[in-house]
Amino acid sequence: MRVLGIETSCDETAAAVYDSERGLLAHRLYSQVELHAEYGGVVPELASRDHIRKLLPIVDEVLSESNSGPDDIDGIAYTAGPGLIGALMVGTSFGRSLAWSWGKPAVAVHHMEGHLLAPMLEDNPPPFPFVALLVSGGHSQLVDVRGVGDYRLMGESVDDAAGEAFDKTAKLLDLPYPGGPALSSLAESGRPDRYRFPRPMTDRPGLDMSFSGLKTFALNTLKDAIAQHGDPLPEQIRADIALAFEQALVETLAIKCRRAIRESGHQRLILAGGVSANTRLRSHMREIMEKEQIEVRYPRLEFCTDNGAMIAYAGWQRLRKGAHENLSFRPKPRWPLNE
């Protein structure tokens, strides 16, 4: 079975073709596409989230790269939510209409289910069950994944996402936005224990997270440091603060993951989302989980961030079980994972 997947839930316009026999045949984000002369030669700079003008060229691109015509595609999957209503509307109406005109089944996919199943796109997919930590600019969630379609949200951020806390603290440190990775490289020259940040929501039970307070703590720390050392702050002090922040965030995530693993009884932890690329997070998590004898896996980064491949894959999982939509389509900006 060959499935075309379409993702337009937020910033990225993405499409992919997944084949159940041959695996992933093509996948593209609009931002990566080298537009050819057939699109007019001169390509205008399109606004972010202008999915309408971006979607057709990249669907064409993945179809031609995978040598797929309408007859080769067995179903069309599109992200129906959660996300921005205007953005979701483009992908759902396009996906549903194309499936109708080609006479193929269409299936609505939950964006987070796509993320949870993304590790399955790897050559050596992790067996179920596992705990997944999704940490990115937009998400901080711990999910108990027992199988396809069997998910339980264990905990999530009640305010800022982990990646957002990185980006905003980076901005406070005068690094360009979004500056999560720049903050991490600044932290490399930081001296440990010069500053001490709190580990939010770790002193009480539960798997919910909160990272907004770390940003405010960073702001207060910076103001105090400027009063003491002068403005602009010496590079070493900025690095010390960056390190203290990063350590607090990483340790908080590790504490929550250990709790989630113990609560679930699973033997495997999947780290996904842009923040999972953070080297300090990876090494600290490995250290903590080795003690628990837990295997830690990371999907490759291009499957961690928003992409069409995960939607095509999740769509295939639904289509093979006979799921398909009727002729109507309904984007769901708010869509709980277990519905």
């Binding site: 937009g138 901005k171 406070l172």
Partner: protein
């Protein structure tokens, strides 16, 4: 006519309480511009305001999602953060026109990123970081804003 009002909010609790007061006194439809630097407490104030409207669920930062819709006691509220907009034109893709035409309380963080598309609105709220707490300034931009401010000042007297 009240031109503007100024309050000192000494801690997080006061920020939330003042936000709730804004929510309780809010008109059914208005555009609120929330201005202030990173960490000034814009999202905290919005969270308090939504509590005042009667919304009890989680109020997440809208920085990544750009907008978060809420419904409480039959009222609609949308919380925007335009920080990640590269161009005000992108507001069109977020459906801003429909929202402005409907009965919705619209809260906008980083409204300057929507300049040219986003209207002046009804109430401007400036938040400023202080060593202890935050300073909040309410500046009405319309008759709706003036009426709202009058309700706020009468309820706030004695508490803030």
């Amino acid at each position: 006519m009240t031109t503007q009002a100024n309050y000192h909010l000494p801690n997080l609790e006061a920020q939330m309480t003042f936000g709730a007061l804004l929510g309780r006194t809010a008109p059914p439809s208005a555009l609120v511009r929330l201005e202030g630097d990173l960490g000034a407490g814009k999202t905290t104030l919005a969270r308090g305001l939504l509590r005042g409207l009667g919304y009890e669920g989680t109020v997440r930062s809208p920085t990544y999602t750009l907008m978060e819709p809420y419904e409480a006691a039959g009222r609609h509220c949308v919380h925007f953060d335009l920080y990640r907009l590269a161009d005000a034109e992108e507001l069109e893709f977020l459906g801003i026109r429909d929202l402005l035409a409907g009965d919705t309380l619209i809260l906008v963080e980083w409204p300057e990123r929507g300049e040219g598309v986003l209207p002046t609105g009804d109430l401007r709220i400036d938040l400023n970081y202080q060593r202890q707490g935050r300073e909040i300034t309410l500046i009405p931009q319309s008759e709706i804003g003036e009426g709202w401010l009058a309700r706020v000042t009468s309820e706030a007297s004695g508490f803030f």
